[in-house]
Symmetry: C2
DNA sequence: TCCGAACCGTAACGTACGGTACGCTGCATT
DNA sequence: AATGCAGCGTACCGTACGTTACGGTTCGGA
């Protein structure tokens, strides 16, 4: 499941996108909305959220403006909860690099195969079609792009240490993305049932890492 | 529910999985629906389809039963149009195998980056969430699974010829899938703008093929 | 020419839902 | 105690849309 860190402490970096910092009660409402999204997908209604959260619709509109505001707040609130542990960059040999990549891939597979991720991605995909608010952009920023921001330094450190070689960091990351995710995400979004036990995730993460390292051998590194 | 065309009472020749075989006029209606889906996504209405196709709503309901029936018919009709040329398996050397894979990958990238594919996949993802009809299953069958059915014989022929090696055909196909698609489909579904010129598609297809062959070298095949 | 089937255009119906208004309760402050 | 406010519950409104019904038109066949 997704890891909740309880409290998000914004360490500086007060960007234009200010942190709403919802209260306890508001977080409970958002959690109810999230559960309803997971259960009923896009069919969630304001009345259902109010009923589930034991609050009035008027409060929902006062707090979140309109339905889109509630959905956006829910997505951002969930994104703020997902804080994958930073990849360890202490020592840099091929074993530790491989371990970091494997850990990264396993965490990623765990997230994208979770009910919550599937539901929110479905929601964002729906709204990316013809809607004004860009939930798609938010999900993209906190999913695919956040992954890139977190992994690229690891890849570049590995390259600097001569463990792996590539020209374009972005391209290398996308190859790793493909090797890890393959068809899993699209199949899940389309409703295919995939079990994905922890053992399978670990095996798949190791396989993806092995393949990635094989495709980008560093100086002096032969094939496996 | 879906209504069979022409109300075949007992005139035999009615197979279980009969081809709907829409008439010319009905195909025009489906084309109009498809265009509207591409333009406005899930927000398409029966009135809009009737208006665009210059037909009455009553006719829509007579032909397709209900809104879901129209959507299902549209998706299936579009799927029947997409017929990628079968991969050439005449000669089997490493060059022809690579050419087949590259051609396959390029066609695939072209399809999944098309407006039509993005729109229909969005529609199917939306309906996979909480809906009764399984547009997701249809899209999956005609997309990801059809690709597998078409490519797997090529991979196995290459293995039989000793050009490539792998244990599990399904697993090998999924690796190829990942190397070709990477993050493209999910980014497009989430509304990210990707240009993907023909030159880029060709370059990416060649890169994916090269990487796939490198990961599954056949007996006697070294590295590139 | 007449008839019926298919179909177009549109009006109408029912419902679901987003959004708003209002009365009520509990609590904090003065 | 009085006051004000935040929030709950519910009724209500307007609209959009799926679905149905109906009158008018075209067209092929008897």
């Amino acid at each position: 499941m997704l890891v909740a860190v309880g409290e998000v402490s914004e360490l500086g970096a007060g960007d234009a996108a200010a942190e709403p910092a919802w209260s306890e009660r508001q977080s409970a409402v958002l959690e109810a909305a999230l559960r309803l999204i997971v259960e009923s997908g896009d069919a969630l209604t304001m009345s259902a959220v109010a009923r589930r959260a034991s609050c009035s619709k008027e409060t929902l509109y006062k707090w979140f403006g309109d339905r889109d505001g509630l959905l956006t707040a829910t997505v951002q609130w969930q994104a703020s909860k997902v804080q994958v542990a930073p990849v360890d960059r202490a020592r840099l040999d091929l074993a530790s690099l491989g371990a970091s990549l494997t850990q990264f891939a396993a965490g990623w597979l765990t997230v994208i195969s979770s009910d919550t991720s599937v539901a929110l991605n479905r929601l964002a995909v729906s709204h990316a079609g013809s809607h004004k608010t860009d939930l798609g952009r938010i999900v993209l920023d906190n999913g695919r792009l956040a992954m890139g921001r977190r992994l690229k330094p690891v890849l570049e450190a590995g390259r600097a240490a001569g463990l792996i070689a590539f020209d374009d960091t972005e391209a290398a990351f996308r190859v790793f993305f493909g090797l890890v995710a393959r068809d899993i995400q699209i199949r899940l979004l389309l409703g295919d049932r995939i079990d994905l036990s922890a053992a399978e995730i670990d095996r798949d993460a190791r396989a993806a890492t092995r393949q990635f390292l094989a495709l980008h051998p560093g100086a002096g590194q032969g094939r496996d």
